[in-house]
Amino acid sequence: MAPVVGVVQFPGSNCELDVIEAVTALGGEGRLLWHGDATVAGVDAVVVPGGFAHGDYLRPGAIARFSPVVGAIADFARGGGPVVGICNGFQVLTEAGLLPGALRKNEGLRFLCTTVELEVTSSRSALTGSVSVGQILRVPINHFEGAYTCDEETHRRLIDNDQVVLRYVDNPNGSIDAIAGVSDEAGNVVGLMPHPERASSELLGSADGVPLLQSLLDRAAVSA
């Protein structure tokens, strides 16, 4: 059976259909999850996609973390279910406390819309299980508040516990330690600012997001 990937739709999400398209092309089944429904029943993985959930009012993710679906995602994550937050989704997961740290405004106050090189720095996470450490991937970024930040103690824990999943080769936004993506302690919850779904075909300029999404499908297939 094809693993089912639930993709959350908040008012203001704008990458949910791209994620479903990319997942479907890899043989998975994508299913929209409305933010107002307090359930993720029937899915094998959850993606919180990019966009501007609830208009990014107050702070990106600040309102979205109180949407009913987020409680269900937290339960799913606690049970070991794979959860990936992309861009705005990463911001939502940090606000919800499912991932450590926070995203602040980019250094230089630039909105960044470009393709960057990422180095895979852990293959323990749900997003990188089928990728080799050291592999370089070309994946687009598209954000204003994407500079990863955390206190020194949290940073040390991230390093010691192998939770830094992806680093920028050439840090574009002032993230601490060039961090582009992190996981929770167990490795099943992952957040990243780059958009793997926008690098899911050579027609889009890069297919380097495929091994990341494939890793998620492989992890989802375990419970499918």
């Binding site: 602040r104 230089g108 930040t149």
Partner: protein
Amino acid sequence: MQFDVLVEVSPRQGVADPQGQTIERSLPALGYEGVAGVRVGKAIRFRVDAATEDAARSEVEDMCARFLTNPVIEDSAVSLTEVA
């Protein structure tokens, strides 16, 4: 009792504030020398009902911790004024 509340949200010390840095760099170009320590945040104003000032402050601080700020990167300062 009713209180007018002002919550000032600012980037925590040690967290880079690119808006503040940009303003600070711009001021000398306009002839304003000797300005330092510019930080940009936001102000949130509202009115709250509470039995006492302590109760109002405690409730607002709870709002700050849970919702109005992200404590990882932001600090808040709460001012209360009893509505006459």
